[in-house]
Symmetry: D2
Subunit: 337 residues, 4 copies
Amino acid sequence: MTLRIAVVGATGYAGAYCAGLLARHPAVALTQVVARSQVGQPLAAVHPRTAVPLPLTATVDPTGLDAIVSALPHGVGAADVAAWVAAGVVVLDLSADFRLRDPAAYQRWYGAPHPAPALLAEAVYALPELHAEAIRRARLLALPGCYPTAAILAAAPALAAGLVEPGVVVDAKSGVSGRGRSPSLGTHFVEVNESVQAYAVEGHRHLPEIEQELAAAAGEPVAVTFVPHLVPMSRGLLATAYARLRPGVDAAALRAAYATALAGQPFWRLLDRPPATGWTVGTNHCWVHTAVQGGHAVLSAAIDNLGKGTATQAVQALNVRFGLAPDLGLRDLGPMP
Amino acid sequence: MTLRIAVVGATGYAGAYCAGLLARHPAVALTQVVARSQVGQPLAAVHPRTAVPLPLTATVDPTGLDAIVSALPHGVGAADVAAWVAAGVVVLDLSADFRLRDPAAYQRWYGAPHPAPALLAEAVYALPELHAEAIRRARLLALPGCYPTAAILAAAPALAAGLVEPGVVVDAKSGVSGRGRSPSLGTHFVEVNESVQAYAVEGHRHLPEIEQELAAAAGEPVAVTFVPHLVPMSRGLLATAYARLRPGVDAAALRAAYATALAGQPFWRLLDRPPATGWTVGTNHCWVHTAVQGGHAVLSAAIDNLGKGTATQAVQALNVRFGLAPDLGLRDLGPMP
Amino acid sequence: MTLRIAVVGATGYAGAYCAGLLARHPAVALTQVVARSQVGQPLAAVHPRTAVPLPLTATVDPTGLDAIVSALPHGVGAADVAAWVAAGVVVLDLSADFRLRDPAAYQRWYGAPHPAPALLAEAVYALPELHAEAIRRARLLALPGCYPTAAILAAAPALAAGLVEPGVVVDAKSGVSGRGRSPSLGTHFVEVNESVQAYAVEGHRHLPEIEQELAAAAGEPVAVTFVPHLVPMSRGLLATAYARLRPGVDAAALRAAYATALAGQPFWRLLDRPPATGWTVGTNHCWVHTAVQGGHAVLSAAIDNLGKGTATQAVQALNVRFGLAPDLGLRDLGPMP
Amino acid sequence: MTLRIAVVGATGYAGAYCAGLLARHPAVALTQVVARSQVGQPLAAVHPRTAVPLPLTATVDPTGLDAIVSALPHGVGAADVAAWVAAGVVVLDLSADFRLRDPAAYQRWYGAPHPAPALLAEAVYALPELHAEAIRRARLLALPGCYPTAAILAAAPALAAGLVEPGVVVDAKSGVSGRGRSPSLGTHFVEVNESVQAYAVEGHRHLPEIEQELAAAAGEPVAVTFVPHLVPMSRGLLATAYARLRPGVDAAALRAAYATALAGQPFWRLLDRPPATGWTVGTNHCWVHTAVQGGHAVLSAAIDNLGKGTATQAVQALNVRFGLAPDLGLRDLGPMP
């Protein structure tokens, strides 16, 4: 099988990385790369490493495509997504547009009415570790944000097993590529180098996703306090989650629950020491560790924010959606050490 | 007044930085620099930037000294400290030896009986913001660790004002210089660069200090869960503390309590946005920010781990101890931006 | 003596750092901070570390000022500079406007006729190590660029002593703050982190300054090939200069010439090992080293590009101009290690 | 075809990366991983990212092996190499032992008599771009050092075409992983972060390799001045080479010579702007750029020091030696951007 795929938003970090991955994927033919700027130039001229010679086009032609990966900012591509779905193309949307089931939550966090509420009912929150079955049947895959990917994979097993109370503090640390490729003072080397800083301390847009998915795992509402931090590295994301242990739960029971939940997972792995984000760069792995301290479960998960947090996760979801081997196109070693 | 001062352990990062600061301090004569290696060499040959021409000596001669700054590892210098105190010299000890009031806690966390328990009763936990009065009368100043400095300055006002429940999760992020100058895989550039990682997730030696001091602030025991993280930067330390708000407490009340507590403090400052550690490098400042999210107070404090976390704090404590202006010798701009 | 000084262009990296330094300078009253944006805000609100409470103003009032430090981009402030000089104020211009004696060279490299050619005759190239006498009498001090400062201090003594042929290859490596504070893809963290790259390989605007000053040192024209590189660090600049040794010149003779040339210099220091730029951050030092390999002199000079390369050098020039101690206001330790 | 291969020295950076690559190589069965420490542990326990479950062994068994990759330090493995060659196994030696044709040069630069001089005559300097024919017939492949790989690929075409005089200044900038995995002050994060520094300014052990190979390319002796620099990044190496143009040679002629020399090369590519090392990380690419300034050719080449500089180059040489597709096992995207 060869899937014909287009990447929309192909000059940003997520889109370009995804295009580079799909161009090397043995079951994929990357046939279109779409962007708002530098139209007509080969993608390889903008991002030499992709080695993708396709010229950038201003619009996508869905004819004959099996799937479209949309790497547009939230709110920008929703109407197009609806059209592509209607045209029978599977859409993998990297934006936040279809992640929240509740349009009111969307409006509250993104400051505008949902651009395509009719699609919310069928969109699948495309975290393969939790929703593989739904992904296999989906027309519209809403890829999780990078912070939620790590936070959910860190905390969901403990909540699902009822080992912790339904309240979680998530302290997350992200590399700068999470802020995208547009220059700003917040991505200026001198402003972020040799410094670490919390932001969005009163609530970040990724919070409702985390609450939605952790509640689904727990089977009850989960109160989440989520504080992201910017760390001076290009890639990598660590979520450290803290939840109060239920009475009688010890470290061994906690770890056993994770061993069970992660058994057979190709990318979600339990480690016997706290994971370093560096071990994940260029891969789709999510390394998880559990510990107990001061009555709390201390749950950490490390990912590459542009890998498992974005682009390689899209490839993983694509593999699941089309029945391919889960790690097809995802076996790169990455820049070890 | 000119204080005659020696620095013991002068080739490590903390000792060398302290020596460099004291050599520039207008009320100090740095008369001895002591180290276990490179004896006979000028300190400036080991650390050019100090510009301290004094040769390193193997032992300190307390005769005529007003104070000794001891930057030895824990457990190494305690017997000497006792002798120096007995000889009438004020000792500022940067190690962990005299921070914990309870010798049993010392033994539990440091794995050996306390080396000089008789001195514990009079040692002062030398965090000037909380214990200025005691510092003025002390013969033995136990300087706080870098993590506790930030954690305590982040959370103490909320606990002291009774605005939060007596349980705190402290998620802290430190630069690599906190691990000292001895080479190891844990300080190897390639191992720590482009990566962030939690460590000591089941309990770090700085935990009991934090509990001791936060309990003193709260007037009741405080359960602390403290997880340190290593961040790829040389200097800087951020503590993000989470505590459940007591009923009826809102963001304004929280902030007002900090404004009151920090009023008049020369180095402990309330900021209207979350502080970046980069703003503190080369200074003695501790920038603090308060916010409310998900029923929790989110309290962050940024310091330079070798500055307010170690060496400039020692100078600050020295100034307090000897009645000098609090910022004497501490007015450097640092490498802005 | 208290000099009344204004800083124009006070929100960029060079201007803000200079303002922070002058605010702490014991013989200076910083009375005005001027910027094109954020007018009305205290400088400390934009750059907390400066702690300068003065509000930013849109224009400078030269009345009563002893000096103005102008940190505007090239071509922007030249007309103002002329007016300030005419008003009797000493001007320290950090831009490139008055560095080149030859207006034709200015036009060739900066792409426009010189904006104030009448002032070129009296402007002094304000590198204190080479032009102290002229600085003492100057009304208009043209501060050298960061690359030229290091390149000239690396190579001038060898040329002046006639030890090398009059041709120099300068391979220079700069931290990212040299690109200024305006966000661009070229200062985006992800684009410059974990990477090193040459730029302006066919000729950089700092080249004619280097040629002008090295020729003056050599007493004959000097052919310079100058290639700047961007290095993933915030601050620091290393110039490695290569020049063919004249027959009979050995390493000892080369080093002796530098020892002689640098004798008594407060900031220009000869080191017995190649200098690291990290040793200079936050200081006005220029560390120099000489070696011989393959028939070439290998001359390296390390500075802080925003210190000796820009802002602390302006303070040094100010001290020289007004007869103050050369290191007044320049004794900061910096963030050692 | 499946080649049975062992990696000796598998816990260092070069060996582990090579093992990870070979474990994913479609024509290779990695059957043994050998190290001096942590024997008995799976390689994946030491380097999780390799995902190589083979336990480390203390010695290699050459029986049935097609090739051994030896990643031992120079001088350590030469006797073993001789035995392996005698046993009929193709050896790819990453050390410096067999790179220099002249045993006297080895003794001069490595401070000991050559450990196996009898093998020097048949060892091939395994830079595939220059010596593919010899590699195809070799029993012993001496892989080039990381600095020589970049320096030679930067300068050889200009010398081979007679466009420059036979003298080259090579100013090279390397990431810290080039110093290996053993902790030292020279690899301590705090010592090398935020700093750049020249070293071995009087001559580095990689110099004679560069001279040997550039002389072979030029057909006459070439005087090389080579100065390495340490840059604060984990991976990447940039060589900037300067050579005086012969009369009448212009930028177009220079570039045309490179276009000709690099035509058809799978990994050695001519770029129209100076390459950034970041574009090469995790790949086997060597990006080259040519320019003219001040009578000099300015030739820059960027590689990943652990990729084209070490481990991926070994895989490339293996592919050439055994007649495989040149990029087999070398198609990873790497951590773009």
